[in-house]
Amino acid sequence: MDKSIIKTVIAKRVARELKDGNVVNLGIGLPTLVANYLPTDVTIHLQSENGLIGLGPVPTIEETDMDLTNAGGQPVTLLEGGMYFDSATSFAIIRGGHVDVTVLGSLQVDETGSLANWIIPNKMVPGMGGAMDLVTGAKKVIIAMTHTNKGKPKILRRCTLPLTAKNQVNLIVTEMCVIEVKDDGLHLIEYNNEFTIDEIINATEATLIINNPNEMRFE
């Protein structure tokens, strides 16, 4: 699959997980795209950890206000009813369980729902930002990522990179499938019909529990 199509497929499928009234934090990168595919019949309150709820569409050049940015430092807009708050309040919202869903990318996820996405020792040390608080505090953690990295599995038996958090992931959405993390392991609940189940198994290091998965739907 083409890379841009992969991202669209993942973003569209994640968008279907969001329910009316949800407070949602979308991570930087692929997860941000989810905002483009939100169901039109529901109201979603997008939170940005730098201090706002009510994230609106990307501004036009005339609308751009460099005092109003998202957690990636990009200019954004604020919807009617939206508001600003300081960082302590922002993380009271996040840690206090007031965020219904957080969507973020990951380098690795494993069978126990642990994830690693903030550091590759001696190689890339960007820092965890708000990710550790988000995955610990949000009610539902969705990982939106490509299924593999240069052909190498990212869904593993155990993460090998330093963890972002232990046992916090609820759902993994990739271009190949949707995986639910339960106490007994990873359940393949949906598959993209552009791939065979064997292809999915081969691209996954972790053991998948497979019991009549549905086809992935995007609308």
Binding site: G51, D86, S87, G127, M128, M132, D133, L163, K166
Partner: protein
Amino acid sequence: MKEIIKLSTLKNHVFDGMSIMVGGFMAVGTPEEIIDELVKINVKDLTIICNDAGFPDKGVGKLIANGQVSKLVASHIGLNPMAGKLMSAGKMVVELVPQGTLAEQIRSGGAGLGGFLTQTGLGTIVEEGKKVISLEGNRYLLEVSRKADLSLILGDIVDKYGNVLYRATTRNFNPIMATASDKVIVLARKRVEVCNPEHVLTPHIFIDYVIEEGKNG
């Protein structure tokens, strides 16, 4: 009435080896004019506490690029390649702290608390060297609060008493940092006689000095 000082007198309030909290999130809400003056004064061996490392030419990144920072406490340094380089070369210590934990360390420092319990970081590198406390069936990390010698914040509107209002997402760490240092200097974009008391976000008692933006040329 809050004392207004000239940017040129900033040198009287800084010293080598001091710790400074700087407001801003990816330099949005950072008092740039004060940072520029700190670069000019060239005060050294600073411990900078800020959400992130800014950019090499923006925010606290300018202090890092100028070799003035010996320790950086931040949640993220990914957008400033200079920070990563200095860290790898052993020229700057970087303490990475989860963003919510950093915010709460500062908030609790300003609120006179010794620390707090959080589940953020459990089972990760962040847990190393910290006490784990079990309470009512849950495990938590004990995080210690944080204070500094000086806080530098950006206010959008500051009244003559030193009450501060912020604009949009420039607020971020500014209000909590205003509570957590021995000395607090606000860079005021605009000054007014008196703010509406219903709207004040940082009460004037937290502010020591006001510097007016754009009036120090």
